[in-house]
Symmetry: C2
Subunit: 315 residues, 2 copies
């Protein structure tokens, strides 16, 4: 078995939604249940991504939630925790914790408070993180989401990082929604050295992206439609039947396109609340806002029209 | 003496620069020295603002630095700590800590990861913070810095917050650099209820802003030019001699305009490094970058041309 920093992750991941209680505390039990269900549906667990409201979750809460998953028997090899925090000491702490529980990779936003940082400054951020973590097991996935972070991860930055840390820099999540950028990332880097896993942020790109060399996808809607996205990935991975792929791609696109037009986090939580008969699922932390009754009914009606139903949770 | 949430802060504040050591750890001793010097020059201490690189400083480090100031005998009434963190539990923890050591106000950024939050969502963020802190002593200053946070604090939001928490919402730092916005904030809110302290982000506005009712300024360059900015504030506050005010305003503008054209944090740190003969002052945390020798020499030459010298530190 290769050192863990030489493993390159593959497959579909869900940026796991974080459930809260009425007092806005974390609902750890429900979080663990949701993770176990996603795992049972074939998903990797990108805990503490944007759709996890990670920015609204404290460092201590992230560590506690991760510990709760491990205690509940979730396979740490399925985890890709978000560990990008603007303050390097906090990013180091979270990354070390991820390594300590056996996670095979972390997903790291650039520091996003200061705008228009230089390429040297961003290189220094990632470089400090790698050096201060100081652990050969580290596999770091870069998180490119310019609309949210305002700080892009450029080709030039990736090249410099790969040159300096060829074993450690393991891939990229591309949340730009810009197919040209995703294709560029795959073509330039996917076959680099040990490999470089490019994860687009939507299952809608899979039929194009996987044959080019993408590693999978890390997509919000994998929280609600995991089994079919997994099936599509497996079919593509096995170079399966083209018409079957086309049909399944159309299928997952139909679900995606409904959620994509909405505030996705609140919409997915509303869907989980209805399907699991658990009103608490609706709760988000400010500044986000929950769906009201009318938005929820409208979403339900749209999903009913395409015959979508959330897969049940195992007892 | 009124309850501390009924005090409205006034005067010039420095968003205190945070010194680091070569290994990027905080240089606590130098931080305390700098704060004591600023205090001796008549500055309030807006620790953990943008210019403090607060985004790059961990929550634990902020608490330790605050404790160090109190232990060194800095007057807690001079402090206005930055406590705006995207995760409400962390903002609550930092705000409670500030209250526990006797700080008469905290400066609170809006949550800045999620872009284009609704006004309801921002209201809910501040409202949750106030309710969860649950301390009648809380005086909260809103921090408007749309270029950095991407999330503006609007007139409508302030009106809603003042209506709900008239004693607690105590003022605003306006870092927009937009004089029309600053004037609007002063005219609409400065004489509201218990008063509402508007702090522009540059001493260059003082001659216009103080007579209108601004409370002072919270300006980066107060880190290097504190005594003259204090003198200007005091003159304006006492409705002093107009030609003396004009001359002093021109004086502080000359210094401000040099730094304003540069990456201000690195430039001010470079100036402190030279004046204090302490190379460590140059250090910034990524993604920011320190000045190189040539940029430092150029800045020195510009400052020399206007006869600027940093006031010495007391032994």
């Amino acid at each position: 078995m290769p050192a863990s920093n030489l493993i390159r992750l593959r497959g579909p991941y869900a940026p796991v939604l974080t459930p809260f209680k009425a007092d806005l505390c974390i609902d750890t039990g429900r979080f663990v249940e949701h993770c176990r269900w996603l795992e049972s549906q074939g998903m990797g667990l990108a805990i503490f991504g944007t759709n996890s409201e990670a920015a609204s979750v404290s460092l201590d809460e992230r560590i506690e939630l991760t510990e709760a998953l491990v205690a509940a028997g979730v396979d740490p090899m399925k985890l890709m925790p978000g560990a990008g925090l603007c303050a390097i000491p906090e990013a180091v702490r979270l990354t070390r914790h991820a390594l300590s529980i056996g996670a095979p990779g972390v997903l790291v936003l650039p520091p996003y408070y200061f705008k228009t940082p230089s390429e040297d400054g961003l290189f220094a951020y990632y470089s400090e993180l790698v050096e201060q973590v100081g652990d050969a097991r580290l596999a770091l996935y870069l998180y490119h989401f310019p609309q949210m972070s305002q700080v892009p991860i450029t080709v030039a930055l990736i090249e410099r990082l790969l040159k300096r840390y060829p074993d450690t820099i393991a891939g990229l999540k591309d949340s730009s929604g810009d197919w040209d950028n995703t294709r560029t990332m795959i073509e330039r880097f996917a076959s680099h050295g040990q490999g470089f896993s490019v994860f687009p942020s939507s299952e809608s790109t899979m039929t194009r992206a996987i044959p080019l060399g993408a590693a999978g996808c890390i997509s919000a809607t994998n929280n609600v439609n995991p089994a079919r996205v997994r099936a599509l990935f497996d079919l593509l991975d096995a170079k399966g039947d083209a018409s079957e792929i086309e049909s399944l791609q159309r299928d997952v696109d139909a679900v995606r396109s409904i959620f994509q037009r909405l505030p996705m986090i609140a919409a997915m939580k509303s869907t989980l609340a209805r399907a699991r008969d658990a009103r608490g699922w609706n709760i988000v932390r400010p500044p986000l806002q929950s769906f009201d009754e009318s938005a929820a009914r409208d979403l339900d009606a749209q999903l009913a029209r395409i015959g979508f139903e959330l897969a049940p949770q195992q007892a």
